[in-house]
Symmetry: none
Subunit: 204 residues, 4 copies
Amino acid sequence: MNKHQQKTEATKQRLLRAARQIFARDGFDAARIEDIAAKAGFTRGAFYANFSTKEDLFFALLEQQSTQHMERLRGLMEACSNEQERLEALRTYYATRAADKQWSILVLEFKLFALRHAKLRAKLAEAHRRIRTKMKLEGIQCLLPAQLQRPQKSKELRKIVLEALLNGLMLEHAYDPKAITGDQVTAILGKLFDTLFRRLDLIP
Amino acid sequence: MNKHQQKTEATKQRLLRAARQIFARDGFDAARIEDIAAKAGFTRGAFYANFSTKEDLFFALLEQQSTQHMERLRGLMEACSNEQERLEALRTYYATRAADKQWSILVLEFKLFALRHAKLRAKLAEAHRRIRTKMKLEGIQCLLPAQLQRPQKSKELRKIVLEALLNGLMLEHAYDPKAITGDQVTAILGKLFDTLFRRLDLIP
Amino acid sequence: MNKHQQKTEATKQRLLRAARQIFARDGFDAARIEDIAAKAGFTRGAFYANFSTKEDLFFALLEQQSTQHMERLRGLMEACSNEQERLEALRTYYATRAADKQWSILVLEFKLFALRHAKLRAKLAEAHRRIRTKMKLEGIQCLLPAQLQRPQKSKELRKIVLEALLNGLMLEHAYDPKAITGDQVTAILGKLFDTLFRRLDLIP
Amino acid sequence: MNKHQQKTEATKQRLLRAARQIFARDGFDAARIEDIAAKAGFTRGAFYANFSTKEDLFFALLEQQSTQHMERLRGLMEACSNEQERLEALRTYYATRAADKQWSILVLEFKLFALRHAKLRAKLAEAHRRIRTKMKLEGIQCLLPAQLQRPQKSKELRKIVLEALLNGLMLEHAYDPKAITGDQVTAILGKLFDTLFRRLDLIP
DNA sequence: AATGAATGAGAGTTCATTCAT
DNA sequence: TATGAATGAACTCTCATTCAT
């Protein structure tokens, strides 16, 4: 039993890993189930044994990736011993997200998808809530720098601004790496972080 | 002859107008030619009499819209009598772009498309060059605030950052208008503009 | 009026000439009205002003060409003063038909078309009858070598055999001119003619 | 695996069988994939699982049928014990081909197709070479009557003439069975065979 | 669990034909 | 008479999904 479950889980993970690449490369609509299965080393059948539809996989990918990113953030936080360090860790977190081009493209893809499938937004929102709940339950919230915990509204807005710039810049970078390098993206994100959360200057 | 040309041009414009809405609403892949034609008040045949493929229409839309936006910018610039005013006009231009949700979504769509169709990037780059050349020849360049004309690289980078934030924020706004309102987008863009070009503070 | 009619007639002839080439080149199904019109120096409209459908043009072409060929044969016959010469002229007629590749391909096309459109066979048969009647009325029949006039059945069969070999060989020649040259086709047809109508040897 | 392959092969054969009928009935251009699939008892999808395009199927059919006919010829030859018998068998082969109307129409269709798709002629020629090579390797060549083996050029030409008459006559027969019956076609082919290979009289 | 043959809805595209000019 | 914009039916081909194995 356990062996079976393990195998199933392994297949699922391989499919998710493949899906991440194909969805980022081709976009939701153009991505073909067959390509995803093939990239994972399977055929279509394996896909349908583990996911019910393309959409289902897309959501599963969103949930898995979001969770992973939040867990990584929690890990960074937990390794800190004071607020100063935590703020620094948060800054590092954003700056290093720039190293993962695929994820930013996928986030854009997810949001565009949500935008265009109003009926699924409930499902999506629920997925998000689930992720957040899970995270909160596991205590990530209290680990965040105190300063970010109080004025809820403002904090959320700042996070959105940072997120928007991150994804926007990553797209520009992916679109034309010569116009803006990965290092520049990281540097600019760091500056914006400082401006938003530490009131330092953005871009020299 | 002229009558025919006029009619053709009118049809083309109606199709482009419809395409803008459908492409923004559904994305390039999910957009159906039939929907575009229908929205313009025609059938598919009319579409194929004016454009050769969906891609062709997509490019034509990009070119038309880009040109329109640049013309609008030029208009704003020409109405200015000194540098101070021009900088202000430029700021206004960016801030008000936020009023046009569709265009930002389309820009994301265009860039994602380019990203995913390496072979067409040459075609796209050429289209951009054509637009820019046209604009420059008509003297937009010299109208820009002097300060933006010198350090070419840096200027381009700043524009990209602004563009990235604009599109990123617009997506967030479209995705969840309660999380970030249109006014907030405009305000934030203004702040970033000041920070980038006037060294003022970003976000209070 | 007469001027108008002349012009109309000229247009029709140009279209028929173009149709002959396009139908032979592409076949009935693949032939495009637009290509025919363009080859004649017109646009689709001119076509529809002169013919009602593609089929209509196809039949008109068949009738025109058949008539022309029969008229040519009649001309050859009329230039003869005795039976001996007429037989010779008939032989020449068949042998030289091999010079016109297009017509043989078209004949195959016509027959295949008739084969596949049982409902139109009546129409086609009628067209044929019309042509023959016209020819007979104009006295071609009595010009044929006497020997070919008597045993009606046998004569018709021989003509069909000759026709079949002509078209079959022309197709082989068009298909692979190196396997069988135009001259060879002509020579072989001559031999068969002699065998059928003069009892000479076929192929050395 | 084997089960799957068997099933696939069976489907392919059923599709080829159906294709033969539909292509002969409607011609390449007018033939609809859907009709072929339906006649084979499938839907379009099954077709595309086994052949990539209509053209692909057309070529596969050509290859299969050509091979079958050559194998039949080889069988006839192998059953002979002396040259006399072989010549007789060859004669029988040609004469009986007339019993298969569809195949002659298809051959015309194939040649017309090749004629009109110059770019595919290489592919077609290759298919033919493949078939011939296969046959030769299996020793058909040496089984042919000795008299047909020497003057290569002349032999090939005679075969082409026979082929041309066969296909031409079959078309005439299909076009108007009253004008020339199947028996007459067979008889005439036999006569031509004798004339070409045995120097007997053609047609009484 | 995984395969892959088969389905079938649906898309892009072509083109004979119509119609206002 | 001839143009060419527009129609709409029909076709090829793709692909998410189902199902027997």
